[in-house]
Subunit: 226 residues, 2 copies
């Protein structure tokens, strides 16, 4: 568990003794599949680092649309805004399987930041990356069509949470057509059409619990062409 922290973006690069100290202040939170760690709109009190399992970060818009921001796995953090006073969680975080996380009060992280500048810069780096990622997706939405966006999304998932297997890359998350629709901002019908098309052409292979990416280059070509 210490080793997960040592690898995490938030706490990596710390002296072992400091890492120890950090870990000693952690609390543990276990959540079963489908349940939430934190809820959008509630005051942001704590920052979390996932130790085990996968979770998804979901926003719902004022008019009721769901937006699936991203999936996170072991070593990844959420709730960073809790270091700042007066913020609310911008999204809910929901376990897609049995999950375990460590968490710290936001104030405590603030103290860490004051004391250990390495943590301050780690935090900044994480936020900067998130910013870039959101902007990239914003641009995609502006300029690319549903087909390209879906291809990109699958490639991104493969890279983030995929495992290499014999004939390709396995993404073993229970991704419904609706989930994919919420990721790229469309409806499940469009997803369905594209997926069965790609499956016929042997680019991918799907069942209810997973996706296998068979011909990566072909998808990349699709994602690229504007």
């Amino acid at each position: 568990m210490l080793s997960v922290l040592a690898q995490s973006k938030l706490f990596k690069g710390l002296d072992p003794s400091i890492l120890q100290a950090v870990q000693q202040h952690a609390h543990r939170h276990q959540v079963e599949s489908g349940h939430q760690f934190v809820q959008q709109g509630k005051p942001a009190l704590a920052v979390y680092v996932l130790i085990h399992g996968y979770a998804k970060i979901v926003q719902v818009t004022p008019d009721g649309h769901q937006v699936l921001m991203r999936y996170i796995g072991p070593g990844q953090e959420f709730g960073l805004v809790s270091v700042l006073e007066g913020f609310e969680y911008p999204a809910s975080v929901q376990a897609v399987e049995e999950c375990e996380a460590l968490f710290w009060q936001g104030e405590l992280l603030a103290q860490f930041i004051e004391r250990y500048s390495r943590i301050a810069f780690n935090t900044l780096r994480i936020m900067a990356h998130q910013n870039q990622e959101t902007q990239r997706r914003y641009q995609e939405l502006l300029t690319e069509h549903v087909e390209q966006r879906l291809a990109q999304a699958i490639l991104r998932l493969a890279q983030q949470v995929g495992h290499s297997i014999a004939n390709g890359t396995l993404i073993d998350l229970p991704l419904s057509r609706e989930d994919l629709a919420e990721i790229i901002g469309t409806d499940l019908y469009s997803i369905s059409r594209l997926m069965s098309h790609w499956e016929r052409d042997g680019l991918i292979q799907t069942d209810r619990k997973s996706i296998v990416l068979l011909r990566k280059e072909a998808l990349e070509r699709l994602a690229a062409q504007s």
Copy 2:
């Protein structure tokens, strides 16, 4: 000029003596209308605070589309990522009128952050806000139509850079139809249609150099209805 810094999001809340020290390390950069402070893709070396004038933050996508992220005015900062090593500027910053800015090497800001935690938290707060803003616009793009998005964009501009005048709010930036199109992600034709419609109905009033918002509530109603 010190007072502009004292008001800026990046350096506000500092002891006067520290603010002094910060200012002593600043360099000055003057840029004429239409020219750039920094260029997208170049290594991010310095952070800037605008002292005078207005500038726009623009990204161009891999396939050549322009995206106008936002306008900034006196007291606002850009190039924050330069505190982190190995980043590039994610966007270009272009003056829309004669502009003057102070700037600091990224490494120097990093030292400030280590030494004065107030600056660290200011930086974090700025990044968190930017994130939220980008996500809000992402959602808008997903769920709202061109008409609502344009209404929102104009309201936002009015709030950020508008001046109250007799019959409404004046936005005195040289905003072409194309600029507006790049803000909300559409083409100049759609903008043109909507704008002339609204002008006929007396909601707004435009010429080449400015926009006057006459009936704010009416625009708000348009922006809200989904």
